[in-house]
Amino acid sequence: MTAVEEVPLSPAGNPIGFGSMKRVEDARFVRGQGNYVDDVNLPGMLHSAILRSPHAHARIVSIDKSAAEALPGVVLVITGEMLAGVPRPSLLGDNFAWMPTLSYDTQAVLATDKVRFQGQEVAFVIAESKYIARDALELIDVEYDVLDAVMDAKKAMDPGAPVIRDDKGQTDNSITDVHGNQSWESGNAEATAAAIAAAEADPNCVVVTEQILYPRVHPAPMETCGSVAELNPVTGQLTLYTTSQAPHAHRTVYAMVAGLPEQKIRVISPDIGGGFGNKVGVYPGYVLSIVGSLLTGKPVKWMEDRSENLMSTSFARDYHMKATIAATREGKILAVDVDVLADHGAFNGVAQPTNYPAGFFHIFSGSYDYPNAHCKVTPVYTNKAPGGVAYACSFRITEAAYVIERVVDCLAAELQMDPAELRLKNLIAADKFPYMSPTGWEYDSGEYEKTMRLAMEIAGYDELRREQAEKRAKGEYMGIGISFFTEGVGAGPRKTMDILGLGMADGIELRVHPTGKAVLRLSVQSQGQAHETTFAQIVSHELGIPPEDIDVVHGDTDQTPFGLGTYGSRSTPVSGAAASVVARKVRERAKIVAAAALECSPDDLEWELGRWYVKGDKERGKTIQEIALLSHSSLELPEGIEGHLDATAVYNPPNLTYPYGCYICVVDVDVLTGQVKVRRFIAVDDCGVRINPMVVEGQVHGGLADGIGMALMELIAFDEDGNCLGGSFMDYLLPTAMECPDYELGETVTPSPHHPIGAKGVGESATVGSPAAVVNAVIDAISPFGVRHADMPLTPANVWRAIQGRPMRTDMAVE
């Protein structure tokens, strides 16, 4: 099955419009000619290193930096005390020691009073080489008064628990959002509680409750975070080369943090070596490189090492979820309630839209049609790294998809019903779209059953169940896990969605040169998603200009219009729509020019790909290339028409888009060792219209590997003293080619009705949908041992202990 209509090919053999097309970006990458931040070297540039806290919670008694400053080659050693003395005439605070987070909290740039997590920034060394900067770290003597740490979110609100944020005058570890709320709810609490109570009293119904942890993980892109800041002391111009998924939003934040005039700040994100949310946040290191350039008058480079990346920059998840599901004994879901304890670390640094402090967790009601759902999310401070934005999170949709798909499987186990059958009984029917979910989200389109049946067909589901039964009889344990997920992506409508007050609409600019070649300028930022290829295809689809004749410019705030960047799968739903809209504006301008040239009324013209022609006289027309030249010529145009074809647009999405999919995972479990082997992975995605199917499939492949990694291997755990146990790639295990199977993909295409080209976004679908499929498969395999649930990551040790009936907390190094 293919979603893509046959389109004509360009002289270079590329589709004029949608279809698989090799990537423009590859030419430089395969030659080793990419330009990542660490490849940036400016004349006179200095290097830097950050001294980090060895303790999770400690008061700073004193810092002696004299020996470090005396080391030859060291230019400057900056401490928090110094930053507190650097005034800034800014909108947020009055000195550089603290900065705002994306959630209206504050975060220390360099610690002044206390350190609040292991790996927190304490001092910043600027030196002539990175080796000397590292040497100097050894020479800084910090005296700490070590305090008890809060490492277990479940104990954060205990009476007498150490108070982490005494800097804000807090007396406990609660988190208050900008609206004054200390917990966040969605859905109908009363109706849901009543439905669950009624089900408990009804012998024809069942109620299942399960404690489900989505442990802390890390995006760990192959390129760590870093920046090169150059603040010209004469002009006041700041140029910041940085690993940013959102260059424009970052520029605005720097204007607020540094008190610099925004027009004097240029943020350049060159090639980005993977992001996955890790490069959404504004980190102290970025700010320190700016301050360093301010204080030294020279460019300053900061690049974190891998341990710094894992220990201090944005984590993901850390949601402790208690899920309750009520259903009839026939398997009709009646209600779902989820109570979440959210571990936000030491500073509330999550990057969610302001009105959605728990992101879009509300979509936990899933892909099923039932009337009552409710969730409550309570965040707390702990002595862990801040963040919570990261890892293809779709704004907490990953946690939401996981909890509903896990608890539905728990329900199936309780009912002794096949989990596929249970899902098919409850999926939202195709004729119910647009569907209003019980938490108030309008799902735009879907044909869920069709997608699920296709996945089951590719998997050979019935045959797999037969094989499983045969193997069990022989004492071999295979498992089949299903996940059906719905995401809400493409944030978002500016009326309800902003980050730090910045509405989530995206600008775009399209120039068509006299020769008919074009340049498209984007606000979104590729970290590997092939924007230079796929956005050219969108314009090509609308205008008929070959994609190779369209250059895509991104990653430089001086060269592109404002927009909020790439995360939450928003590039195609928001900026992709903008590209379509701006190209249609050009098409309408071209129509007026063509009418003038053809001496007819614009109303007499019709469009075919790449050409306006006179109705009823197809030979009489002008190609877009001819029109481009005419638009710059002496051709007389109607009164009020300026000429040229260039256009700009701002796209404000009317709704989110709702991609979905059905994933089936097949595993073999060695019950003597607990080892899990992922044998097959079937993924059927419906992301609406596919611009470049090759790129879509690549996105899905990567997300499936992510999901397998999180389900089986990845974990940022801590011991009770606050030591991070996942601080290197020796400890934080990522899947290699050996752990990943040969994925089997399928597709259905249900266009988004409100998106100009019907596309929905796919970047995070597989990361959202796959962990539950893997875990469901493992639990299915070991269910004969009475296991209904075990928490990720399902390492051999954790699987083995689950089989023994002695599960352990995976997030803490305690029993």
């Binding site: 590859d26 030659r31 192959m222 390129e223 993977g274 499939e697 590997a705 994925y743």
Partner: protein, 159 residues
């Protein structure tokens, strides 16, 4: 210390600190930035290049240990404008996304095919299992190496 080594067929003589890692020497002294750095523990393999014809994670070697050796990096794969089949394979099969792990993956893939022109899927997966990719899920990297195996170079590229 003074060292002399050959990189992609060109001889270089440089004074280096004894403690300088080979990956930093290649990137910061010779300005060959196609070789990347990704971890502190020699797990990720993005710094993989060849030393005397063998793939090596260049963060595990000091620059002084490369004295007198022949290095080949990603910049030495193509023969002028003509791409090596391994490079073409990565383009043909969408074997890369962000491009960060790609040079190391290609160096390992090229070495595998030079030593085993028709590897099985399992042999390819094992060969790249010391290297991490976060974008592709590996499937298309495997396909890219298979493509290169099916399209051997017409002329030998010297290391």
């Amino acid at each position: 210390m003074q060292i002399t080594l050959t990189v992609n067929g060109t001889e270089y003589t440089r004074d280096v600190e004894p403690r300088m890692l080979l990956v930093h020497f290649i990137r910061d002294e010779l300005l060959l930035r196609g070789t990347h750095w990704g971890c502190d523990t020699s797990n990720c393999g993005t710094c993989t290049l060849w030393v005397d014809g063998e793939p090596v994670k260049s963060c595990t070697m000091l620059a002084v240990m490369a004295d007198g050796r022949a290095i080949r990096t990603v910049e030495g794969l193509a023969n002028g404008a003509e791409l090596d089949p391994i490079q073409q394979g990565f383009i043909e099969c969408h074997g890369l996304q962000c491009g960060f792990c790609t040079p190391g993956m290609m160096m390992t893939g090229r070495w595998l095919l030079d030593n085993n022109p028709n590897p099985s899927e399992g042999e390819i997966r094992e060969c790249i299992s010391g290297q991490i990719c976060r974008c592709t899920g590996y499937k298309n990297i495997v396909s890219a190496i298979q493509w290169a195996a099916e399209h051997p170079a017409t002329s030998e590229v010297t290391s």
